[in-house]
């Protein structure tokens, strides 16, 4: 039997809005994944360090402070630099559509905005982060 998918739910930057991150963390846990939550106010370096130490299959980053165009690309860059390009980076928050396109081009696998159904997020994680489990 394959091991469970491991996900790091992360809050980076100065943003304290943790409702979405906590709901997603619980929902992913209820869906049978192993979930680690970073807690608030992490730097991109701390997030990537935790991801590598915990050997996660994906990072779900939550940003509601408007700093998404800085934080997502920085975390992706650090993952690539540390040889962890296969860790799936996804996330959500108050993020305008045109920024979502730019983030996807920068290597963010998916961005979920307020109101996105949890079932869809769970399906995404199972499909995309599951690839790393199968390898």
């Amino acid at each position: 039997m394959a091991r469970p998918i491991r996900i790091l739910v992360a809050k980076a930057g100065l943003d304290g809005h943790d409702r979405g991150a906590k709901v997603i963390a619980r929902a992913l846990r209820d869906a049978g994944f192993e979930v680690i939550y970073t807690g608030l106010h992490q730097t991109p370096e701390q997030v990537v360090e935790a991801a590598i130490q915990e050997d996660v299959d994906g990072i779900g980053l939550s940003v509601l402070s408007g700093a998404h165009m800085t934080l997502f690309p920085r975390i992706k860059e650090l993952l690539d630099k540390d040889g962890a390009s296969d860790v799936v980076l996804f996330g959500g928050g108050t993020i305008p559509n045109e920024d979502i396109e730019a983030l996807r081009e920068a290597g963010v696998a998916a961005v979920f905005t307020p109101g996105a159904p949890i079932a869809g997020i769970v399906d995404f994680v199972r499909r995309e982060c599951g690839k790393r489990v199968e390898v």
Binding site: H17, R19, V35, H41, S65, A67, N97, T113, G115
Partner: protein, 564 residues
């Protein structure tokens, strides 16, 4: 309220008298009728509801004791004898983005559109105690509020606005004393003495640990800073509302209405206790405490919440804290429509949500109101969308007639019953918090955080399984969205702001700034009131980040126990 014969009884079978035949007929017909699916037997907060309320639900209410007249204890029906006939609520749109100059333009626009008070939204670095050029501020400058690091920034923010004539609300907490010091210094430079300033500082640190999560120091020194501010303002800035005790963020974090009510008032009582413990007379500072609530979508539940809040505060202040001044008994509050209820899908629908929420706040007797803009779920609002949000309040105030009669829902069997149940629910929470030994021990135990996380997860599951319909999200979905143009805060704003902060530091007398910081640290280590030292620091051009950082060795830095 006059006791009447029970004509509806209760579907739960609690009859206070023999049911009339009309009631029995209704009950039989109701029981036999087909019911719609979904969560229509409880509020959005999972509070149980009956399908019908009647005289028996209001039977325990003593009019003089529990409701009384507007402007009279316990103020259930409002704090002003004249309601909105004497004075409308203040229309106060929370605004701030980019740099001080841009936000100053927005303020002048809003004032020109008929707004009657200002409300400052600061950016994350200012809220967390970092200057714009700090490495941790990277990518956050001016993004979710205005970037303020220096006295110069504050002066630019209010350029051309007479601080002696306008009231200003500042949503800032762990760095609140710095913001207040900068505001006082800015006013002084305009020739306005601090005695004449009116406005509100949020400065509610307890709810930060509970919900909003912006902090520097641990709860205990944060309470010291707040009591110093309260003591200072009660003597020197008498028209200033020293704290805005906030339920808004607790609700946004996912709490129920009762939790919002209970946790907010428990925080309020904790500030009163801290003030009294610091040697202040309760009537010297309680009249300047104000509140801030959420206006969520469950219309009647919200109205009951506001009415219950006034009654609970009045009772505790008079009976428990022995306050003698009626102004200490009155709970005055600002309201903001629920950001968490807004949807990115079909964002235009948020206009309707906001209008209903605003109506609830007004029927609940709010003193001041912010109506969210339709685009705030995706970005800071554009000028066009803020104008629409403000116009929503103006239509409510001038066209609907809802302000013509005071507390128009008073006496409604349903609203009175729900008001009582809200009060009872809050009292149960007060007892549980007391078991922890008070608010701060309950924060350290993660009690509030867990209660809120549980409630928000339950709510999310109800949406997921279709028990609750959110229009445009899990029903009435539309594939093609109408594009909405959003406000962009460019990277150049951050670079320009960093340069300004550095130029400000380069232009000052560094020794004078360092001496002022040393005096602040010394006051923090000892027992002197820190507020005059904060003011001296900003006048000597110490920056917000420097002042915040200087106190870390004294007070420590807070780390949250992360629980999911």
């Amino acid at each position: 309220m006059k006791k009447e014969k029970d004509i509806t009884g209760s579907p739960n079978g609690k009859h206070s008298g023999k049911p009339s035949s009309a009631q029995a007929v209704w009950q039989a017909q109701f029981d036999a009728a087909a019911k719609l699916p979904g969560a229509n037997d409880r509020t959005i907060s999972d509070h149980p509801l009956k399908p019908l309320y009647g005289p028996s639900d209001a039977a325990g209410i003593d009019y003089e004791r529990d409701l009384s007249y507007p402007g009279q204890y316990p103020f259930t029906r409002g704090i002003h004898a004249s309601g909105y006939r004497g004075r409308l609520w203040t229309m106060r749109q929370f605004a701030g983005f980019g740099n001080a100059k841009q936000t100053n333009e927005r303020y002048r626009f809003l004032l020109a559109q008929g707004q009657t008070g200002l409300s400052v939204a600061f950016d994350m670095p200012a809220l967390m105690g970092y200057d714009s050029d700090h490495p941790r501020a990277l990518g956050e400058v001016g993004k979710c509020g205005v970037a303020i690091s220096t006295l110069q920034d504050m002066q630019d923010l209010f350029a051309g606005i007479d601080l002696g004539r306008i009231s200003t609300s500042m949503t800032i907490n762990c760095t609140a004393p710095v913001a207040l010091a900068m505001y006082i210094a800015t006013a002084e430079a305009q020739g306005v003495p601090q005695e004449k300033l009116s406005g509100t500082l949020q400065a509610d640190m307890l709810k930060e640990y509970i919900a909003q999560k912006e902090w520097i120091y641990p709860p205990e020194p944060s309470m010291r800073i707040i009591t110093d501010m309260i003591a200072y303002c009660s003597r020197h800035v008498p028209k200033w509302n020293t704290i805005s005790i906030s339920g808004y963020h607790i609700r946004e974090a996912g709490s129920t209405a009762v939790q919002e009510l209970a946790f907010t008032l428990a925080d309020g009582f904790a500030y009163v206790e801290a003030g009294v413990a610091a040697g202040l007379d309760v009537d010297d500072f309680a009249p300047r405490l104000s509140f801030f609530f959420n206006a969520h979508s469950d219309f009647f539940e919200e109205i009951a919440k506001y009415r219950a809040a006034r009654r609970i505060w009045a009772r505790h202040m008079r009976e428990r804290f022995g306050a003698k001044n009626p102004r200490s008994w009155t709970l005055r509050f600002h309201t903001q429509t629920a950001g968490c209820s807004a949807t990115a899908q079909q964002a235009e629908n948020n206009v309707m949500r906001v209008a209903f929420q605003a109506l609830g706040a007004v029927l609940g007797g709010t003193q001041s109101l912010h109506t969210n803009s339709l685009d705030e779920v995706m970005a800071l609002p554009t000028e066009k969308n803020v104008q629409l949000a403000l116009r929503t309040q103006q239509v409510l105030a001038y066209e609907t007639g809802v302000g013509n009669v005071i507390d128009p829902l008073g006496g409604s069997y349903y609203v009175e019953r729900l008001t009582t149940e809200m009060e009872e629910g809050a009292e149960e929470y007060f007892a549980r918090i007391a078991e922890f030994g008070g608010v701060i021990p309950a924060i350290h135990a993660g009690f509030f955080q867990k209660e809120i996380a549980d409630a928000s997860y339950r709510y999310q599951r109800e949406i997921e399984n279709g028990e609750r319909i959110i229009v445009g999200v899990n029903d009435f979905v539309q594939e093609e969205e109408h594009p909405i143009s959003l406000l962009k805060i460019g990277r150049e704003i951050e670079l320009e702001q960093c340069a300004r902060v550095q130029a400000f530091r380069a232009s000052r007398d560094s020794q004078a700034a360092a001496d002022a910081l040393a005096a602040l640290v010394s006051a923090a280590r000892g027992g002197d009131n820190m507020m005059p030292h904060y003011i001296d620091c900003v006048k000597k051009k110490a920056t917000l980040g420097e002042i915040s950082e200087a106190l870390v060795p004294v007070f420590g830095r807070y780390r949250e126990p992360a629980v999911i």
